[in-house]
């Protein structure tokens, strides 16, 4: 019981909600409302008084032996604790999620490295004055003229797509 009570601590919803993306927002909100009802139930159950005023009853009831018997039996009674069969499942799922997150982070780190490499490549280019047209086409492939589709100058759909006209 003590170990279970140690597990109970306030959930930091502000931390969770700020880290949740817009596509998960509704799911997390339903989860939050469910947990709020659970918390309310717990608080309500905690507030109910579990003590029995034995003195009052032993005074009020003439049959003392019966009260004694009640008291002894109540003391002897072991209330069965609810069996926890979901905890293992949750732990397993948590470990799986952790692995999935690590996998995602690893993959996105690879992507990130690629993107950063590209950024560095672009930032280390010399001034355009000293770059050849081939350099430009190599580092900015979207500027390449399409000789196959448009055999005649300007090798683009229209003249406004020329670099100077389009990116002025």
């Amino acid at each position: 019981m003590a170990s279970r009570q140690a597990l109970i601590k306030p959930i930091e919803w502000s931390k969770i909600l700020e880290r949740v993306g817009p596509e998960m927002k509704s799911k997390v909100n339903t989860f939050k409302s469910k947990s709020d009802t659970i918390l309310n139930n717990y608080v309500k159950a905690n507030e109910t008084k579990l003590a029995i005023d034995w003195d009052h009853y032993s005074k009020a009831i003439a049959n003392k032996a019966m009260v004694q018997e009640f008291q002894q039996k109540f003391k002897a009674l072991q209330i069965p604790k609810p069996i926890d069969n979901k905890s293992e499942e949750l732990k397993k799922k948590a470990i799986e999620d952790e692995q999935a997150v690590q996998k995602f982070v690893k993959e996105s780190d690879e992507n990130l490295a690629e993107v950063v490499e590209n950024l560095e490549r672009l930032n280390s280019l010399p001034p355009f004055e000293q770059m050849t047209m081939d350099d430009n086409y190599e580092h900015f492939p979207r500027l390449r003229p399409d000789f196959k589709k448009y055999p005649f100058w300007p090798h683009r759909e229209n003249i406004d797509d020329l670099i100077v006209n389009k990116y002025r």
Binding site: K15, K81, S108, N111, L112, V115
Partner: protein, 278 residues
Amino acid sequence: MFSRLLANSGRRLISKNSPLCLRVINAQRYSNAAVVTQATNKVAVANAYPAQLKDWENFKMPGAPYDGMGPLPPLEEFDPKMARHYVIPEDWFQFLYPRTGTTGLYTFFATVGTMLVSKEFYIITPDSWYTLTLIAVCVTIAKLAGPSIRNFFEEARTDLFKALENVKAEDVAGLQELVDNIKLEQWRAGAQKLINDAKQVNLAMMLETEYLNRQATVVETIKRQLDYQVAVQKVDTELAHGHMVNWIEKKVMKTITPESQKATLASCIAQLNTMASK
């Protein structure tokens, strides 16, 4: 572009303090084009395109090697002191400076010119006046519109580079955004652990709630039973009490006979009489 050229030269033709100039300045100040004209109105320096790469031979292009790879050598820098009066090389002045001082070349031209004319090596004809007029016109154009013309050609040269700068800025901004997005997603993925922790907490809370509820049920049941006992006892005492009252009443009623009733009545009347006489 030609319109800008004309406008620039026009501004130069109008003297600074004239009212027309003021009107032009005000019109510019309150129009949207003001910023643009201010930007282009800067005194042009040739080869002003940013940051030349001097050590171009040792520079390694990123992503090398590929066909037609740069970088190109930088343009030679424009030296505005290369020639005096647009056409006379500065070297000639420097050559004569130790011998005849600053005015040496002017003196040389004047004396040689005088000699040519006086010896009739150069004969002044009407064509000479045309030549002089042509020179005067050229000088005027150079003085008035020279910087604008230089600007015009400089811009024509750097237009492509500026467009490419825009392309590069676009690409860099896109990649930067991608980096930010990836980092944001990685940070957001960490929320899963918090949610799982919250689930554990919820489970513990639910189990605890169930246990407390069971306890509460037991306590409530016992209390109800005991309360029942208390209530039964109360009813019993009440019944016994009522029964006793009835029994006493019956006993009392039995003791009262008609004679005793009459005697009580007579004594009451007597008492009333005494009270009335007083």
